[in-house]
Amino acid sequence: MRLPRVNFYPLAGPAVASAVSFAIGALLILAIGRSPVDVYGLFFSQTFGNSYVLGQVLFRATPLMFTGLAAAISFRGGLFNIGAEGQLTVGAFLTALVGCSGHWIPSGLLMPAALVAGSAGGALWGAIPGFLKARFGAHEVINTIMMNFIGTALVSYLVTNVFLVPATVHTPAIARAAEIPRLDLLTGAFQGAPVNLSLLLALCVCYASYIFLWKSRPGYELRATGLSRNAAAYAGIDVARQTVLVLAVSGGLAGLVGSNFVLGYKHYFELGFSENVGFIGIAVALLAKNHPLGIIATSLFFGILGYGSLTINTVVPKELANILEAIMIMFVIVLSRLVDRWMLAVQQKSAA
């Protein structure tokens, strides 16, 4: 007899992984002699409830949507992009640079130009490893890692030697016309929280990525290449071109991170502003099973984790959040394998 199968099992892995990481977190809290109930109680009471806190969470979720999408698109295309950190650094730097160039660009176009510059910078930084893979077969994992360091070194050289405001580690402020307005000024809600209109941009990009992946021909080709490069090539897809394209699109998404911090919050580029969002984006994508709409949810989840860890910092070190994130990634990848294997075993048994 065959029961209709509701496909819940893709959600099982992430749910169990989150639960396990919070449980291990509880053990760590116990180990330092605090009560997990109190700490988690504080954590959740501080991250829900008023609109300021919600604004803080949304502000932290915004860059994660971009980097989460960057990771998801590359995974879907069958490639690893570990270079989001470098791509977003180069992108955000260019965003700030264009944002400063008020004299050259008409003020109405300044903000879009800054966004395009950021995205283009990220896309270029992604396309280089893509090209090296397509042309020479050089592994994109190593090359995207290398491009992280090259990007960070290059930008930090330029910031400290060329575009520095003396006695700081940031660039001059962008022109007013390039600023992205904060939501508290627009709506009156989220008083005092830095969340800004980039959030809307991020949500739109998530939806656009969903349409791109599942409702468009290039998206179909991208997924086909990701599932099997040989089959895709046999079906007439230019796999080499796809390789460059996937990493360029992925990098272009990561390059939009600057919109939130540079255009929407501080209004300048600062070294080390990203706080690892490039890497956490990989966790965001994995937990969402590389689904663009799922990424909205998982970004919020990691936004809560990021802001919540600050609120408990007085009781336990805020680095607890990093530990939880790492354990979550570990369990997601391990569990999804175990679940897949178990499903396979069940199928084989019923077939026999």
Binding site: I32, F149, F279, I323, E325, I327
Partner: protein, 286 residues
Amino acid sequence: MDALFTLAFLTQIARISIPYALPALGATFSERGGVVNIALEGILLVSAFATTAAAFVTGSPMFGILCGVICVTLKADQIVSGIAVNLFAVGITKFSCQLLFNSSSNSARIAGIEQWSFLAAVPVLKNPFLITTGLLVVASHILLFRTKFGLRLRAVGEHPEAADSLGVNVARLRYAGLIMCGGLTGLAGAWLAVDQHSFTDGMSAGRGFIALAAMIIGKWTPIGALSAALLFGFAESLTIQLESASRYLQLVQMIPYLLTMIVLAGFIGRSTAPASVGIPYEKEAI
């Protein structure tokens, strides 16, 4: 320029090169066995911390075993789990540092290493880590290319199915590669802590990835890895030494990464990774 090639300069090269050379050597073993280990950075950081907390003997090989459980036994994706280990290392070191030393960024000062006084005449050689590194490179070369173990490890990295069919235990050898990698990287972490007399957060500062680069440029051989590490150490020391050039330090630090990309693209001789590196081995069901 006269003062350039003094003993002090050579000592500085050695100081900088050690934490590149040892993890590069370690990664040579794990990759030869077929496991990509981008967790070098995290292991380096954790072992630097563990050294200041006086427990480094147990610290780093344990991480090798952890990577083994994840990558070999559970066959999880090696790249993603490497990223997770790196994130974990950042978190756990700061967390523990806060607990032990009441600051998440700095540990208390620890004692340095005892200098070997019988070699005092030659200052560079007073550093026991330096001599150990040299000996380990030679030993690794012999182990990898002149012993049964080395042959098997390489076979497992190239063609695990073939090795398996000849009765070689793929999982056990991959574990061995990772544990050696953990141990060697741990030694480098210990050196970092001892050299700076304390732990500071994020003190590995990308060295794990430079080591990965050194291993690739060294074409997956111990002597190559050491040479690349020395080359990077030399370039960095030179920049630090030349007062006027120190403004370009960030650009000089790009060299290892650029070189790696050029080597990987095949412009400097052939550089081929072990054929099965990065692919979990699934034993055929009987």
